[in-house]
């Protein structure tokens, strides 16, 4: 077969072994910012590679809409300490406060840096970065909404992704587009040094061994584990599942954010900015029901609160026509705001619903949106192997795949973009610093052979179940039994069903036995990642017998600070397959846990 033109972009020719100084997996905001900082810190000679299973500009950072918060104070008084408090409170006090302090403090400098890199922010009349309101962001420790979100219309993520990709091009970061990462090289076991990754070149199905002194996972989330989700098809938890398979823990996986305003049935988002600009939620009676649940912040209460309120309205028969959705009303915002500040959102409503936001009410339902949990890291992106915070040398993680933990039990709107930026950047700088002393990468022959064997086996299947059949069942059971509201009995059922799906997934049918862009093989591999993420999520949700942030247990409806002011760590023993839980304390430095009202 004729190969395509060389896919690795830049100066390195295609080869089965690629030697780099550092390798970044994932080309969203976190990965790109890290790569850029690495290159700027180490100079043009440094071999910094970014592997992505997509073309970088397809990364899901680009789908983020409303903005990124930083206490610039450009349109009204604001302080990063207020942002810090909002983040801690929004996370229902499960946030590690030292990490959130770093994030909110660094936010200001990071946003300014992005402007310097060329980001097309909306501007005030004075030419400063413009700012608007967003859910859960308040002035003076909860007194009322504050304008803190910096934005580029309603496509802030797109602007961030483009700007960082552009600057990476300028600095000659080497891109490996359309490579699927499948394993880590860690020849000395789960706490030994990481020395690279093994990836499948999708164009040709060749396996590549990327050898590097430092590896960053910035692969995003796993929203595709749920039936209704805002997440892209490609968000299958690859980066979480890979270390989990190696016996490393995943932290706080029970906390998954359901965003209140997903487009009904489709799942993708109508930005919180629609409420930030003044949109309100209405039930079947046309009542603005958030006034009952959150008298101060109303429709701009934090996302877990609003999503649960919508569920209660629906459960009590006040969904529209008794169905499982409510209305978002933006009619009063006027054509000017809808067309200039929310043009993409208005376009979505017209394209997918055939409705006119100026005159029609928009059907919305909560949609699985964001994983607060993930690979445990410190504030410099270093991956932690256990509850004693043992560092895994050579391995870093940043963005949604990681859990620092700055979001605790519930992430505030806009803080996901801030997380990828601040901690992507910090991880890149720390990698640059630690590279000098790192040994030459060791080869993990065992892992290379294991990947070769498992991919080969999938390519030779002639009978079995289609990945889509199992994936669809997984998404349905996770949405129904491990969704906005959970109980022990539902979670036990969910755990057992996920286990049986994992068993069935041992016999997958892959129709495509060819080597060229075998996306059928890709579907099968991604299903494996999703199943592992589901297992860790359900185990963690079952363990936590309280209600906090994005984890609502109907059988344990109160927050329980005495027993549960701690992080969960779920891990699976690679030898026995047993899943076990461990715990570590929450870092509390300034804000004592209090009852959470909006």
């Amino acid at each position: 077969m004729t190969l395509l033109a060389p896919t690795p972009r830049g100066s390195i020719p295609p080869s089965r072994v690629v030697e780099l100084d550092a390798v970044v997996v994932g080309a969203g905001g976190a990965g790109l910012y890290a790569a850029l900082e690495l290159k700027q810190a180490l100079g043009p000679e440094a071999r910094i590679g970014v592997i992505s299973k997509l073309h970088p500009t397809r990364s899901h950072t680009g789908a983020a809409q409303g903005g990124v918060c930083a206490a610039l104070g450009n349109t009204e008084e604001d302080h990063w300490e207020w942002h810090w408090f909002d983040t801690v409170k929004g996370g229902d006090y499960l946030v590690d406060q030292d990490a959130a302090e770093v994030m909110c403090h660094d936010a200001v400098d990071t946003i300014i840096n992005l402007e310097h890199l060329g980001l097309p922010f909306d501007r005030t009349d004075d030419g400063l970065i413009n700012q608007r309101r967003f859910g859960g962001h308040t002035r003076n420790y909860g007194e009322g909404p504050v304008r803190r979100s910096c934005f580029a219309a309603d496509r802030t993520g797109h602007a961030i992704l483009q700007t960082l990709y552009q600057q990476c091009i300028r600095r000659e970061v080497v891109f490996f587009d359309e490579y699927q990462v499948l394993d880590l090289a860690m020849p000395d076991g789960p706490t030994g040094r990481v020395s690279g990754v093994i990836a499948l070149r999708i164009a040709t199905s060749e396996l590549f061994s990327f050898r590097a002194k430092a590896v960053l996972f910035a692969t995003g989330g796993y929203g595709k584990v749920f039936k209704v989700t805002s997440n892209a098809h490609t968000l299958t938890g690859d980066g979480m599942a890979i270390p989990y398979r190696r016996g490393l823990p995943l932290e706080d996986m029970e906390f998954f954010q359901f965003h209140p305003t997903g487009m009904y049935k489709l799942g993708f988002l109508l930005s919180e900015a629609m409420r930030g600009e003044g949109g309100i939620l209405l039930n079947d009676a046309g009542e603005r029901f958030m006034e009952r649940y959150a008298p101060t912040m109303k429709d701009l209460a934090s996302r877990d609160v609003v999503s649960r309120s919508i569920y209660l309205e629906i459960a009590e028969g006040r969904g529209i026509g008794g169905k499982d959705y409510v209305h978002l009303d933006v009619r009063h915002l006027g054509a000017e705001v809808l067309n200039t500040k929310l043009p993409d959102m208005s376009g979505f409503i017209r394209t997918y619903f055939g409705l006119e936001p100026l005159t029609d009410l928009v059907p919305i339902q909560p949609t699985a949106h964001y994983a607060m949990g993930g690979i445990p890291t410190d504030i410099d992106g270093r991956v932690l192997a256990d509850e004693r915070n043992t560092v895994v040398p050579g391995l870093y993680a940043a963005g949604e795949v990681a859990c620092v933990s700055v979001h605790g039990a519930n992430r505030l709107g806009t803080n996901s973009l801030l997380d990828i930026l601040v901690f992507g950047r910090r991880a890149g700088l720390k990698m640059a610093e630690e590279l000098a002393a790192a040994p030459a990468p060791a080869v993990d022959i065992e892992a290379e052979e294991a990947v070769q064997a498992s991919v080969g086996a999938l390519l030779r299947t002639t009978e079995g179940e289609r990945p889509a059949v199992i994936r669809t069942e997984l998404q349905e059971v996770m949405f129904a039994k491990c969704g906005v509201y959970r109980t022990e009995s539902l979670l036990v059922e969910c755990r057992d069903e996920v286990a049986s799906l994992r068993e069935r997934a041992r016999n997958l049918l892959v129709d495509d036995h060819g080597c060229r862009y075998n996306t059928d093989l890709g579907d099968a591999l991604e299903l494996g990642f999703l199943l592992d993420c589901a297992e860790a999520t359900v185990a963690s949700a079952l363990a936590r017998t309280e209600t906090r942030g994005g984890h609502a247990r109907e059988d344990h409806p109160e927050r329980d600070d005495v027993n549960w002011l701690k992080h969960t760590l779920a891990s699976r023993d690679p030898a026995t397959g047993e899943v076990s839980m461990a715990y570590k304390p929450v870092t509390i430095t300034k804000f004592e846990p209090r009852a959470r009202t909006y």
């Binding site: 402007e115 005030t124 489709l266 059928d520």
Partner: protein, 234 residues
């Protein structure tokens, strides 16, 4: 409703030439064409190959020729596409497999226009550079590009001359040429004034019709030519 989906299939590993295959799928009027492609891939024939990611028109992965026009499969609904839908790969790029094309040349052209802000001087107060809303507005339209290639692969000049940088690259050059913060305007205008640059445009407007973001591409191209004129670049 029942929909007949005709897809132009081609796997150079196995097929001598592209050929049409027909699939029967059942659909809601609100289903996206992408949903139908998934139905085929997931439940009928796993070898069908195409790119996609976000599924709501922001990532730019799934542009293809649907019912004779370049569109994003995730933005085109059955209620508009009808019950007989034809799908084929974008034109003017080598087909790698089925609906998936080799985009390397496209990305190389994007890179050729220096698609990044050049300005290493920072304000002394450590804050953001100032830019008026009016100056910001000058590149609002072209900063919305999602690099889906729908414009470039609908351009007849591009079909006949593969050296032409094409509308997408010009859109991205415009985004920086029009940004008051940028300091590489002349260099970029020089690239645009090259033989394979902006002068190849014949104002056919196919690109404007094809752009899923509604960017006024021909106007952007015209503005770049005006800037070349103002800068007296030959």
């Amino acid at each position: 409703m029942d929909v007949t989906l005709r897809i132009r299939r081609y796997n150079p590993e196995a097929d001598e030439a592209p050929h049409w295959e027909q699939y029967a799928v059942s659909a809601e009027p609100t289903d996206r064409v992408l949903d139908l492609l998934h139905q085929v891939k997931w439940y009928q024939d796993g070898t069908l190959t195409f790119r996609r990611s976000c599924a709501h028109g922001v990532c730019g992965s799934d542009s293809m020729l649907i019912n004779g026009r370049n569109r994003l499969a995730c933005e085109y609904l059955v209620r508009d596409a009808g019950t007989n839908i034809t799908v084929e790969a974008m034109r003017g790029m080598p087909i790698v497999k089925d609906l998936l094309v080799d985009m390397d040349a496209f990305w190389d052209k994007y890179r050729r226009v220096m698609p990044f802000l050049v300005n290493d001087e920072l304000p002394e107060d450590g804050r953001e550079r100032r830019q008026s809303p009016a100056d910001r507005d000058r590149y609002e339209d072209t900063s919305r590009c999602i690099l889906c290639a729908a414009c470039t692969t609908s351009c007849p000049v591009f079909w006949t001359d593969e050296e032409y940088v094409g509308p997408a690259a010009i859109v991205n050059a415009h985004r920086f040429i029009s940004d008051t913060r940028d300091e590489a305007k002349e260099e970029r205008l020089q690239i645009m004034a090259d033989a394979d640059g902006v002068w190849r445009c014949r104002t056919v407007f196919n690109c404007v019709e094809a752009c899923p973001r509604g960017i006024n591409i021909t106007r952007a191209i015209l503005e770049v030519t005006q800037e070349i004129g103002k800068a007296s670049i030959s």
